[in-house]
């Protein structure tokens, strides 16, 4: 998959792999992490070498690191993306009741999720395209609503350069006021909550060659710098 690119862009946007690499830098050492499908799942490939985390999968799995490739793998050890993780010592299995107790109870420290839209107040839409009329929720609502730290890893705009960071989500919501950090192909933006359901978007990092006004052009919510 090629990087998104548009005529007015001041510089190249990051690839999906580079978005994942950037997002992976925000995973704290020793944390319990759940990676969503798509770009988030790629984070596992770019974990900084001095960081050790335990991955949780909704399927009932804690403590995996890498996935089998090709024809290999055991269908009885599956992650939520339908991939087969490699067995490692200390891995734990449990049923779906326990798996979602961990999520709902806030025991997963951090999740990285994809998004169709994120609002200026940290609302997330990531499960249904309105024109389709049907979608799949899976574990996304439980993760977004209940995980203490939610990172969104996504491209900054749609493939037709329409901003995905918006005043109000027009896609069906996954969870309100849940997003803490947005990592895109042009920026890293913190959703800073200063009051219940109120927040500011703080531009923390820009891709090489991008300045705040260029990022702002493709962002529908006002950005601040600290």
């Amino acid at each position: 998959m090629k990087n998104l690119s548009f005529n007015n862009d001041p510089a190249p946007r990051l690839s999906r792999n580079d978005i994942a690499r950037k997002a992976a830098q925000f995973l704290p050492n020793s944390s319990i992490v759940n990676l969503g499908i798509g770009i988030p799942s790629l984070c596992a490939n770019y974990l900084p070498s001095n960081i050790e985390v335990l991955y949780h999968a909704e399927t009932g799995l804690l403590g995996y690191k890498d996935l089998y490739e090709g024809e290999k793998g055991n269908p009885n050890i599956m992650d939520a993306g339908g991939n087969f993780p490699i067995e490692v010592p200390g891995m734990v299995f449990f049923d779906s009741i326990e798996s979602f107790n961990m999520i709902r109870g806030g025991h997963i420290n951090i999740t990285v999720l994809g998004a169709f839209q994120v609002s200026g107040t940290g609302d997330l839409s990531n499960w249904m395209i309105p024109s389709r009329g049907i979608g799949s929720i899976g574990g996304a609502m439980d993760l977004a609503e209940n995980t203490p730290t939610v990172i969104v890893a996504m491209e900054h705009t749609t493939s037709t350069n329409i901003p995905k960071i918006v005043e109000q989500c027009t896609y069906p919501l996954t969870s309100k006021n849940c997003v803490n950090l947005i990592v895109t192909d042009v920026a890293v933006i913190e959703v800073k909550y200063y009051e219940k359901q109120k927040s500011k978007l703080i531009l923390k990092e820009k891709a090489s060659g991008w300045n705040i006004s260029e990022v702002q052009k493709i962002t529908n919510v006002e950005l601040f710098e600290e």
Binding site: I37, G38, A57, E58, T59, G60, L61, G70, E71, G73, N74, P75, N76, I77, M78, G82, F93, F94, D95, S96, I97, S99, F100, I103, R104, D123, I129, R132, I134, G135, S136, I137, G138, G139, A140, M141, D142, E145, N146, P172, L173, T174, S175, K176
Partner: protein
């Protein structure tokens, strides 16, 4: 007492399922933990107006989700190809991208069936509640979304929660590795998933297993479903090509 639960064939074990029955199908989605042979036996009954309760459903055939690459997948789509389903209650019935389209999405587009989509944690907790004698509980998941529509909301400690009700069924088709003759079940890895909860939440629970052993052969510390929840046990053929 010991052998009344053992059925000789998959078709025998499902033959009292009727038009309009509600049926839980275990596993997570994917091949591990899926009661594939029971599903095929049910499909072959040619029933109508079934209510199916599953987690990820119909994705394996369209994308290969959770199946070894060298085997053609079977999934909940088999009941939709043959228009046997009135309604499916699940968390993940369509693929992330618009194409390829699943049998469930096709049926829904054609108006042949209703699809109720529930957050996965709420779905499993509602099933668990039914088995555990809990008629309803409050959960934070779905607040502020369309999942909250027509649901009672309530604040505890200044956070808003939804009231969710127990979800039971007439039958549960589940999958385990081994059973003893009491119906005590042993699972492997992530193939537990929805199986243990569903076993507790249906009037009749039917377990598809790789092997049936004597009581005591399964380490009692590894029994994932106590036999009290299992009504029927059916053993697969040796070397079944399906995982």
């Amino acid at each position: 007492m010991k052998n009344k639960k053992i059925y000789k064939s998959f078709s025998d074990s499902v033959k009292d399922i009727k038009n309009g029955s509600s049926i839980m199908i275990g596993g997570f989605g994917g091949s591990g933990g899926q009661p594939t042979r029971l599903m095929l036996a049910l499909r072959d009954l040619g029933l109508k107006n079934l209510i199916i309760i599953s987690n990820v459903a119909g994705i394996s055939v369209t994308t290969g989700y959770g199946w070894p690459k060298n085997i053609t997948p079977v999934d909940q789509g088999i009941f939709f190809e043959t228009k046997q389903v009135k309604k499916i209650i699940c968390s993940f019935p369509v693929t992330g991208s618009i194409k390829p389209i699943s049998e469930i999405e096709k049926s829904w587009q054609n108006g042949d069936c209703e699809v109720e989509i529930i957050p996965q944690g709420t779905l499993i907790e509602r099933i668990r509640a039914a088995g555990a004698g809990i008629p309803a509980f409050y959960t934070p998941t779905g607040v502020g979304t369309i999942v909250a529509q027509n649901k009672e909301q309530r604040k505890f400690n200044n956070r808003t929660f939804l009231l969710e009700k127990a979800l039971s069924a007439d039958f549960a088709l589940i999958r385990a590795n081994r059973s003893d003759t009491f119906g005590n079940l042993e699972y492997i890895g992530t193939s537990r998933a929805f199986n243990p909860a569903m076993a507790t939440a249906s009037k009749i629970t039917i377990a598809e297993v790789n092997e049936i052993v004597k009581p005591g052969e399964i380490d009692p510390e590894k029994i994932g479903t106590p036999g009290v929840y299992v009504n029927r046990i059916v053993k697969r053929k040796l070397k079944d090509p399906y995982p």
